[in-house]
Amino acid sequence: MIGTNRTVRGVAVTSPVGDPSLGEEDERALRRRIVERAIAMLGTHVGPKTVWEGRT
């Protein structure tokens, strides 16, 4: 997160936008929620370094 201004918390280092413990459909839905958060953040004015916390 060093120096980045718009950061969405992913799942894990080994799978930032996926979760192998979920079924294929649920995993795709989770990935979609993460990307939708990223899209929302891209459209949001932020101050230096904003991290959107919380479970996706």
Partner: protein
Amino acid sequence: MKVAHYVNQFFAGLGGEDAAGTGPVRLDGAVGPGKGLGLDVAVTLAAGDDYFGEHEEDALAQLLRWLDEEQPEVLICGPSFGSGRYGYACGSFAREAARRGVPAVCGMHPESPGVLAAEGAAYIVPTDVKVTGMRDALPRMAALARRLAAGETLGPPDQEGYLPRGLRRNEIAELTGAQRAVDLLLAKLAGDVRTEVTAAFDDVPPPPPVVDMTTATVALVTESGLVPRGNPDRLESNRAHAWLSYSLEGLDGFEVADWESVHGGYDTSVANADPDRLVPLDVVRHLVAEGSIGSLHETLYTTTGNSTPVATAAKFGQEIAQRLRDAGVQAVILTGT
């Protein structure tokens, strides 16, 4: 020991703001704060703050000519405390003097523009932001000046009391890295935060938000080591020397048969069972089809972010950003591992 001292119009006694346009002046002996240094100041050089700012080249040329004639063993500038113009003049003159072989000492507040102007060529003693810090600053500046004039090499900034100059010197440490790391940790637990390596963080101001995502072109970038299976371009698993780009045309996702991660910094088995876990190509395709994203930039930019020196990573970032800019991309989803 022969000392030259630089001050602005105010400290030279030439006047206040009304005299800020005064050109360079050369005065014999110590003037104003120079009398408090406790050193044999042979010559005091001065210029108005505005004059220096507006005629920097001329001012520096004249001041350096005088320095050449005087041949002092050390130049002292200021202290200029929190003053912007005065600090800038001190830092600039000290830098030029030091580069011509006259060691230079400034005194100023660490946030003064003079610190940057000095470019690490001069020694800068940190002072208070206000003139009331004079009595504290002068002896510290004089002590460094005395040693520099004697040709001594100064130790590191934190021990000698000057601001870091952005230089690194090799030295033989008596303790191993492990021992020093534990010592630093224990010191930190005791409330004393120290570091052997001062990192300079590059604060990038956040770009303004994308006005309308439904018309924006979005690119996918990653440092996860994602490459075509077989790694045809031989991307390194750590310390990557390059970033790569691959076409996404015709792809609705990253198929296991065609893509893999070669990153050496994490266990890639989960990602290699479904590379969409690294870069959300499948989802972005859907969002484009649904209209919530305008379009996808049809090139993936990828590298391995593992033990990458910051300078290399910054260069990769700048090069990729330039490509994206040239391609008219408005937003980037960059997945990291």
